[in-house]
């Protein structure tokens, strides 16, 4: 795990009693989060646990049913523009304007964010070179692979060098080199006092880059802390994050049963 340089006392992301309902479906229940400057907070949970809803609510894309939140001291319901200007966001599926080229897209994002041209170009050049974008910078985004699209979205999230990064499964589709670069960038963000909320369902990612982990299950944070603290909550001092996670979500027995059932079903059949 990384060791952040957490000096300030005011959290950059703070939510209290955040609840979000979609009709009768409760996507978030009483979510309380505090991400401090210099911290990389991993939101860990299975598919459909509420990670994306949490991030979208923090970004102001979804309005909470109840509860409140503050982003760098601003409330998204009152100061949406200020909140969005302080955040760099990467969605689970990179949604960008498919008909634009990365150059056109970044030009649009930089213009909307009112960025200084020379400074922006320097940032883009560093990131585009790091992500090997030379062959793709003037191609329509529609023709790029999932990973390439993700890189475009990542560059767009960094160009204004925001204090807060909201990454929703941001490593999806990235090759090993690019994943490493993103991990480094996230680490630099924390080192210079920024905050990162990193949602993932991949244990290794959470284990390697996050200072603190919140385990989210069925819309609720069921445990929070460093890996050691989480291990302690499950009554052991060792074990991987995966084992800790399954214990916390009470899925250990269920996974063992499923695995046994599948073993019986598949080992009986020979490969044709």
């Amino acid at each position: 795990m990384q060791s952040g340089v957490s000096v300030a006392t005011e959290p950059l992301i703070e939510t209290f009693g955040l609840t979000k309902k979609f009709g009768s479906v409760r996507a978030l229940t009483d979510l309380n989060l505090r991400v401090m400057p210099g911290e990389i907070y991993g939101l860990l949970g299975p598919n459909g646990a509420g990670k994306t809803t949490a991030i979208k609510t923090i970004l102001g894309l979804l309005e909470p049913t109840s509860g409140w939140l503050k982003i760098a001291g601003f409330s998204p319901t009152k100061n949406l523009i200020e909140v969005k200007s302080k955040i760099g966001y990467v969605a689970e599926n990179p949604i960008v304007y498919d008909s634009l080229s990365p150059r056109d897209f970044l030009e649009f994002v930089a213009s909307i964010r009112k960025l200084n041209q020379a400074k922006t170009n320097a940032t883009i050049a560093h990131l585009a070179n790091a992500f090997d974008m030379t062959q793709y910078f003037d191609s329509p985004i529609a023709t790029l692979s999932h990973g390439m699209k993700q890189k475009v979205a990542l560059i767009a999230s960094f160009i204004h060098q925001p204090p807060i990064l909201l990454f929703d499964e941001a490593l999806n589709g990235l090759d090993a080199k690019s994943s490493r670069i993103v991990k480094d960038l996230v680490s630099f963000q924390a080192q210079k006092g920024g905050a990162v909320l990193f949602s993932t369902h991949i244990m290794e990612v959470a284990e390697k880059i996050c200072n603190r982990i919140g385990v989210i299950h069925q819309g609720k944070v069921i445990a929070e802390g460093t890996l050691e603290q989480l291990r302690g909550k499950t009554g052991g001092n060792d074990g991987t994050l995966e084992e800790v996670f399954l214990k916390l979500t009470h899925e250990e027995a269920e996974v063992a049963d499923t695995s046994k059932m599948l073993r019986e079903a598949f080992l009986e059949n020979e490969i044709v």
Partner: protein
């Protein structure tokens, strides 16, 4: 694989094509969720939208097919109203020309999603033979145009049978209608493929940009052509009939050789008793040539569809970027430039950028019938041009598509977005007053009002666009049909915003007969509307 089985399976790629084109509309349908008023609705609507996709497509196809039947039958109206036999050749020719244009326009909208091959990917992973896979792809292609092609063929054949009572004429009409459909689909497929290839090839080539503009212009002009043919069949038909049946002139002979007039002449000849043999022969030879051409076109269509399903259709060229620099602009200009790029690269919305051409053509056509530039004609012409300009804000909202999801995460207010779209639609209309100033040099204006009114209408269009988009953003609608109804409501509000100053001018002129005073009243009304527009924008 059985044909029925392939037909059933073709629902999958077809459904995907349909879903994709509907997903494109998401931007328009869910604009209401932009602000803080209704966030989260889109997630609930997603499931509903998916469920409805095929049902909506069926309804769409049915509506378009009915419209196609109406437009294909319209030229025959002159046969019912006038001398039935005399107008037959030209009615058939026009009917074929109109259905050709309309089928092609509709097919272009659908085929843009089809030519990128991704919808077939779902099936390509299954153990299906190459030929069967091609057959399924061809069927899914047929599904997207079946209703409208069958509808137009049936209406043309039934009307010909009714008017001629000749089995031979009916049979030839059946063949000609089928040829027509093949030509329309082939041109649409070619157009969509070239447009798509041009877009996907990428790079910053100026030739690509020029080509794209030419294609947009072609499409826009085609729509105008279809509109004109549909609106004035009674005016065109008699003149055309005279030309087709005149023996002497070389230009008339060339017209007979030209599709679809050759088809009209051949079918007409089976009914007329006094048509010279040479004329029938010329048209018949032309028809045989067109039949051969249609066979070649069919083969090309099948080959292209097969290629799309196997190879992915488009060859992408990667251009090495020389640098990674971007040019930043003020947010408003940045948004306008983005809108221009996105909309001009989508075949379904690109056409709206030829609105200035269309508006100018309409005005020129209306004014050409008069010796002076009359104020009354200018009022009508500017109003008609204004209606076209009001379609642009809604088209720009549609063009956002899924990219809107990203825009929502940026620090930009809806006020700035409304302004950018309103400015674009107003800019397309500026050509109208400028064209009228130009026309006033050729045709003397009856009064100075005739030249000044279009400038005032330009301001009214700015207010109308602001109000239209603002109303649109405040509404969340479910499903495409509701979205269309919603569009129409906003459009009506926009139309009234243009109509009110025109009515104010007309009313004050009819009561005072003072042009200067009427112009002042109109200017006052326009300014009040602009104030209302900005008030609505600030709220």
């Amino acid at each position: 694989m059985k044909l029925s089985e392939a037909w059933q399976l073709s629902r999958i790629p077809y459904g995907e094509v349909v879903y994709r084109s509907i997903a494109e509309e998401k931007g328009r349908m869910w604009w209401g969720a932009f602000g803080r008023n209704h966030p989260g609705k889109e997630i609930q609507d997603e499931l509903e939208l998916t469920k409805r996709a095929l049902r909506i497509a069926k309804f769409d196809k049915l509506v378009v097919a009915i419209f196609n039947i109406v437009v294909s039958a319209a030229p025959f109206a002159s046969s019912f109203l006038g001398a039935p036999v005399l107008n037959l050749s030209s009615s058939i020719s026009l009917s074929l020309a109109i259905t050709f244009g309309f089928t092609m326009l509709y097919a272009i909208q659908t085929l843009s999603a089809f030519v990128n091959a991704e919808p077939s990917v779902l099936l390509s992973t299954l153990p299906i033979g190459r030929d069967d896979f091609s057959l399924i792809t061809i069927f899914s292609f047929i599904r997207s145009i079946d209703y409208m092609v069958i509808g137009s063929i049936l209406s043309q054949v039934i009307l010909t049978a009714y008017l001629t009572s000749s089995p031979i004429a009916t049979l030839i009409m059946l063949g000609a209608s089928a040829l027509n459909a093949v030509f329309a689909v082939a041109v649409a497929l070619w157009f969509s493929k070239v447009f798509q290839d041009n877009l996907l090839r990428g790079g910053r080539s100026k030739i690509n940009i020029v080509l794209r503009l030419i294609f947009i212009l072609m499409w826009g002009l085609l729509l105008v052509g279809v509109g004109l043919m549909f609106s004035v069949p009674l005016y065109i038909v008699p003149n055309l009939e005279t030309m087709l049946l005149s023996v002497g002139h070389i230009s008339n002979m060339l017209l007979r050789l030209l599709y679809p007039f050759s088809a009209g002449t051949v079918i007409g000849a089976t009914t007329y008793s006094n048509v010279p043999f040479t004329m029938i022969l010329q048209a018949a030879v032309a028809m045989v040539t067109y039949t051969l051409l249609a066979v070649m076109a069919s083969k090309w269509i099948l080959g292209t569809i097969k290629r799309i399903s196997k190879e992915g259709g488009v060859k992408i060229t990667r251009v090495t970027a020389k640098d990674f620099s971007v040019k930043t602009h003020r947010p408003l200009l940045g948004y306008i430039l983005k809108d221009l790029k996105v909309a001009s690269r989508n075949p379904a919305t690109a056409f709206f950028f030829v609105l200035p051409v269309i508006e100018t053509i309409i005005i020129a056509l209306l004014i050409s019938n008069f010796e002076t530039l009359r104020t009354s004609v200018v009022l009508v012409a500017t109003f008609m041009g204004g209606i076209f300009a009001l379609l642009l804000p809604l088209a720009l909202l549609s063009a956002e598509g899924r990219g809107l999801e990203y825009t929502k995460t940026l620090p930009i207010s809806s006020r700035r977005i409304i302004l950018s779209k309103a400015m674009l639609s107003t800019a397309t209309y500026v050509t109208v007053p400028l064209a009228l100033v130009g026309l006033s040099l050729v045709k003397p204006a009856a009064s100075f009002s005739a030249v000044l009114i279009p400038f005032l209408i330009t301001i009214a269009i700015a207010s109308a666009s602001i109000i239209e988009i603002k109303l649109f953003l405040g509404t969340v609608v479910k499903g495409k049909i509701n979205a269309i109804i919603n569009d129409l409501e906003k459009l009506v509000v926009g139309i009234f915003t243009i109509l009110i100053p025109e009515c104010a001018y007309a009313a004050s002129f009819l009561t005072t007969f003072d042009q200067s005073f009427s112009l002042l009243v109109m200017a006052g009304t326009v300014l009040v509307e602009l104030v209302v527009g900005f008030y609505v924008l600030r709220r």
